[in-house]
């Protein structure tokens, strides 16, 4: 009933129930009780008992004893021992303290210290020695170490191989989200309308009720439908712009959303013709309009050099026409002004090395200059600085701004988002920020699958989304009263990109979700009805991951609800409401949540 077909027969045995190895015979009753918590569609592929999880690098005094399991979703270390040294303020409902989602794993190293051997485990490799130690390098800078001194050598080896295999799938449909959603659809086959929590906006609320009413009061617009765009045009009072439906059914481009916004003066027929000249047929997309009428627009490059001038001219004219003051257009070529995705990735790799480097004291001494040498902060600054310049064009010069980039789906996402966060207080609310990510990243075709490297083809990996969250964090640090959300929220949001259960950050484009999940549904005999592809759970449905109490930590107590102009919509949270929430946070230690 599960679709995880390992390409090599060697691994078939993992799909069978765990073997009875001799270590199970003398296991204490205490260990036997340690059972993993599994999600729908999740199965244990292998497990090993009497594992020691290493906590500190220099001493074993904090080490924990337990069972290590590998499922098709996570590796889980199950222990009765309490978590030493570190206490977390919130708990993820999908993952235990010691769990690592498979999509969060970066590298797996097995060690045998008697034979002084070490091996990095790729997806389909053999292991010629019995490992005494397993080191897992995670994408979120974690390093997890397990010792197998007391466990059955064969079982230990099998678990290591299972982890290596399941964490490095070769096909998108092998990611756990498909298994999960398939199970959900099957379970609710008799109900109408598929699964309860698939409607995305955080409304439906799977599993954990909506107590607290924090996120559920407002839905995050996903921009999958016409009306979301229409509402956004009205919210920003963008009069010269209209929603365009020519890409319905992805007839024009497979990397654009079905609906997007274009200058009113451009007819569908013209757009269809123009689209052929753009890389990926990514014609100009409206992002946002300032109250003064200046618009922010993003587009790919014009492929055909001969056509370029003419098309550029037509587009610029149309954008000018959409401006109430007929202001000029300011073009920003992002490829020429900002670091490219490879440079960002290189900086990130250095940053990670610095952060996880041992010994601690060595990096400590030259910490600041080493940090500078990674160039990560320099890049964060470059994006913030350039965005601030564009803010000046839009706000003070009353110019419309066009972001140009080869494909228009990497740097553009980041710059378009930052500009809007800086200019529009609505995007500094939780719902607003989420809608921004939907609009400028998910729907605009940011290639989450490749950039997050969920399928481990590292050449396309680049942490632009993290860079965006970092830049937002910098703004939050500088303007603590301007953001409804907290640092915790940003951190949790980034962690969520590593949980392959949500559809939000799983695909390269909305079209890919529809295509892949339709294929999957057919192969699994799932009736889709009118739905366009499977409705994966949305990250914005935070109740799937956190209790209402924990979700209060998403709110920034410094936030002043009413703020500078720009917001004319009625959808902002009322000041009073938010205030009450802050109190819960600020008084948590003395009075609880009453």
């Amino acid at each position: 009933m599960f679709s995880l077909k390992p390409p090599r027969p060697t691994f078939r045995s993992y799909l069978l129930p765990p073997l009875q190895t001799d270590d199970n015979i003398n296991s204490e009753p205490k260990i036997k009780k340690l059972e993993p918590v599994l999600l729908p569609g999740e199965i244990v592929v292998n497990e090993v008992n009497f594992v020691r999880k290493c906590i500190a690098t220099d001493t074993s005094q904090y080490d924990l004893w337990g069972k290590l399991i590998c499922s098709n979703f996570k590796i889980s270390f199950i222990t009765d021992d309490p978590m030493p040294l570190q206490k977390f303020h919130y708990r993820n409902l999908l993952l235990g303290d010691h769990d690592v989602p498979l999509t969060c794993i970066e590298q797996i190293v097995t060690v045998n210290d008697h034979k002084r051997k070490q091996k990095v485990l790729g997806p389909n490799q053999k292991l010629k020695f019995n490992p005494t130690e397993l080191i897992i390098y995670c994408k979120d800078f974690r390093i997890v170490r397990f010792r197998f001194d007391e466990s059955g050598p064969e079982s230990a080896k099998k678990v290591c191989l299972a982890i290596a295999h399941y964490s490095q799938p070769t096909d998108l449909q092998l990611l756990f989200a498909f298994e999960y959603i398939g199970k959900k659809y099957h379970n609710s086959a008799n109900k109408i309308n598929g699964i309860p929590s698939g409607d995305g906006g955080g409304g439906g609320g799977g599993g954990e009720g909506n107590g607290g009413g924090v996120d559920s009061s407002q839905k995050t617009p996903l921009f999958e439908i016409y009306s979301d765009w229409d509402r956004e045009i009205k919210r920003t009072a963008a009069s010269g712009w209209r929603v365009c439906s020519i890409n319905e059914g992805y007839m024009i481009s497979t990397c654009l959303p079905e609906y997007f916004v274009v200058p009113s003066s451009l007819a569908d027929q013209d757009l269809k013709i123009f689209s052929h000249s753009f890389v990926g047929r990514r014609m100009p997309l409206w992002c946002w309009s300032h109250a003064n009428g200046s618009a922010l627009v993003r587009m790919a490059l014009v492929k055909d050099a001969l056509q370029q001038r003419k098309i550029d001219q037509r587009i610029c004219n149309a954008i000018t026409k959409s401006h109430p003051q007929r202001s000029d257009v300011y073009k920003s070529d992002l490829d020429k002004t900002l670091p490219n995705i490879q440079e960002v990735q290189a900086a990130f790799v250095k940053l990670k090395q610095l952060c996880v480097n041992e010994p601690f004291e060595e990096t400590e001494e030259k910490w600041l200059s080493s940090l500078e040498n990674t160039r990560w902060l320099e890049y964060v600054r470059a994006f913030l600085k350039h965005s601030a310049e564009l803010v000046y064009m839009l706000e003070s010069k009353h110019l419309s701004v066009v972001l140009q980039e080869e494909e228009g789906r990497d740097l553009s996402c980041l710059v378009a988002s930052l500009v809007q966060v800086m200019l529009d207080p609505y995007f500094r609310t939780i719902v607003g920020f989420q809608s921004l990510i939907q609009k400028e990243w998910v729907m605009a075709g940011y290639q989450f699958l490749d950039r997050c490297n969920h399928l481990k083809r590292s050449e396309k990996e680049s942490p632009l989304f993290l860079l965006f969250l970092d830049a937002t964090w910098q703004l939050l640090e500088q303007y603590p009263a301007a953001f409804e959300f907290s640092e915790t929220y940003l951190a949790v949001l980034y962690d969520s990109t590593r949980i392959s259960l949500f559809g939000t950050f799983l695909f390269n484009s909305p079209h890919q979700r529809v295509k892949q999940s339709t294929e999957f549904a057919i192969s699994k005999n799932i009736q889709l009805g009118d739905e366009k592809g499977l409705k994966f759970p949305s990250v914005w449905d935070w109740s799937l991951q956190f209790t209402a109490k924990d979700r209060t930590l998403f709110h920034n107590p410094f936030y002043i609800g009413k703020s500078t102009p720009c917001v004319q919509n009625g959808s902002m949270k009322s000041f009073k409401r938010t205030k009450q929430l802050f109190v819960v946070v600020s008084m948590k230690s003395s009075t609880g949540t009453r």
Partner: protein, 508 residues
């Protein structure tokens, strides 16, 4: 001041270098030599001591509805700590500052040490600054004791009385372990001090003590380091190599060493492993930093607004941190080698702690900044003069206003809305470069490009949160009252959380 060499429109004017990290520049019209008068007047009033004029604090006629001079009463503070007790006594031997002219009048010393013992020990300690108690742990009775370096000298002199005295200190708590001595200096400097008659406690002479050096540099190194910080933040912030420039000032590294030292002191005492004796050379710079920071980590009382004022009064002002020399109040000799930002460095360490423990301190950042602003302002008498005896001679408490009068009459402004009282929690900040930050809101606040929005929305939000907090506490009280009324006459328990809290341990 003055004398800009560049020509052009603004070449004639005044340059004013300030103690608080900024320079001011005024362009004046060249006609009529307007600069000369201005320069003379400014010099006279900026440096009154050089012109036989009084400091402004003595002219200030401000009135406040609370008297900050009553905040610190040493007897009360020692009583709060449970002193005197069987092992420690309060002595008035220094009532007229005869034993040690830079110490306070009231001292706490081991019960078993007689006044004569103290006099003999004084001869062996630099400037007679004998080991006296700063703080005692309420449960395990280990103590933090402060003093100056022993006068060992090149010949390696010994003093039986000093050795015995340290042993008496060790024995005040019933531990058998050795007394821990933290010498704040780098060992090289401690050795070098022998040449000028100083030194440190050798293993041979002090069998029952264990000495560690904390590697904190002297006042000159700190001064130069801060000067470098100023160079990189004013007038321009150098963006391109900001972090390596910051690293090359070593300022955060010094902060790290001071904090690390204080953590060690706090840990020794809190774990009950042993009593601790802290000294540097004279025991009024690094020693004050270490004892006060360790006390702040150990004793939550000092994390309240009044508690912190008491801490500053006690460990810094009364124990003779040379504010007049280190700051150079009203003195024109700006190159004086005695000047050093030791107190600023302490406040920076406190700020680092407040960043890492946002709910542990009753006060906010503004509180720390206003203290530093009035460290230089001479509007209040609080930071004038070098020691208590000088202050008494000048009748400072009668003739000037205390900074705490200003602060305590408007406390709300300085309160941290996230403060949650916790009595027995020891704070161990992470003294790692990964966690230490440059205090931008203080060091770079004058840079127009970094300047905060005005009015500051965060301050506004603070006020709202505090009001809300009060409202909720009131409601909680009402509920508790209603609840206790329901239960059949319970013993009258304090009804508000604020009343239940502090006043830790009175042990007799």
């Amino acid at each position: 001041m003055g004398g800009a060499t560049s020509r052009g429109e603004n070449s004639y004017g005044l340059d004013i270098t300030c103690k608080d990290m900024r320079n001011l520049r005024f362009a004046l019209k060249q006609e009529g030599h307007s600069r000369r008068d201005m320069f003379e007047i400014l010099t006279r009033y900026a440096f009154p001591l050089a012109h036989s004029l009084p400091l402004f604090a003595f002219l200030n006629e401000e009135k406040f509805n609370v008297d900050g001079w009553t905040v610190y009463n040493p007897v009360e503070e020692y009583r709060r700590q449970g002193l005197p007790n069987h092992h420690w006594r309060i002595t008035f031997i220094n009532k007229c500052y005869e034993l040690c002219d830079t110490y306070p009048a009231l001292l706490v010393v081991p019960y078993r040490a007689t006044d004569d013992d103290l006099r003999r020990v004084a001869t062996f300690r630099s400037r007679n600054r004998i080991p006296v108690l700063s703080w005692i742990h309420p449960e395990n009775k280990t103590v933090i004791v402060r003093c100056s370096q022993p006068l060992v000298g090149m010949g390696g002199k010994r003093n039986k009385d000093d050795e015995k005295y340290l042993d008496v200190i060790r024995e005040t708590n019933k531990q058998i372990s050795k007394l821990t001595i933290y010498d704040a200096r780098p060992s090289v400097n401690a050795v070098a001090n022998k040449a000028t008659g100083g030194g440190y406690e050798s293993d041979d002479a002090y069998h029952n003590a264990e000495l560690f050096f904390l590697d904190i540099h002297n006042i000159h190194v700190m001064r130069e380091s801060l000067k470098k910080v100023k160079d990189i933040v004013y007038p321009n912030v150098e963006e391109s190599h900001w972090l390596s420039s910051l690293e090359s000032t070593h300022w955060l590294e010094h902060i790290k060493l001071v904090l690390t030292g204080a953590i060690q002191v706090a840990d020794k005492v809190s774990s009950g492993k042993s009593s601790v004796l802290v000294h540097c050379s004279d025991g009024w710079d690094r020693t004050a930093q270490l004892t006060s920071l360790a006390m702040l980590m150990l004793d939550s009382f000092y994390r309240s607004i009044e508690g912190f004022e008491i801490l500053v009064q006690k460990e810094w002002i009364s124990f003779g941190h040379k504010f007049a020399s280190r700051i150079g109040h009203g003195d024109k000799n700006h190159t004086d080698a005695d000047r050093s930002p030791i107190f600023l460095q302490f406040i920076d360490c406190v700020w680092q702690m407040s960043k890492q423990f946002p709910t542990a301190f009753e006060f906010n950042e503004q509180f720390l900044i206003i203290i530093l602003d009035h460290l230089y302002s001479c509007r209040f008498g609080t930071f004038l003069f070098n020691c208590e005896s000088a202050r008494e001679r000048q009748k400072v408490t009668e003739r000037t206003v205390s900074l705490w009068s200003l602060i305590n009459s408007n406390k709300e402004k300085f309160k941290n809305p996230f403060y949650t009282k916790e009595i027995n929690r020891v704070l161990y900040p992470v003294a790692s470069m990964r966690h230490l930050e440059l205090w931008v809101n203080y060091y770079i606040r004058w840079n127009p490009r970094i300047k905060q929005q005005q009015p500051n929305p965060v301050e506004q939000r603070y006020m709202e949160l505090l009001a809300l907090r009060d409202e909720y506490i009131k409601r909680l009280e009402e509920l508790q009252l209603a609840n206790s009324a329901k239960l059949s006459d319970p013993p009258t328990s304090p009804s508000s959380p604020s009343q239940m809290m502090p006043h830790v341990q009175t042990h007799f």
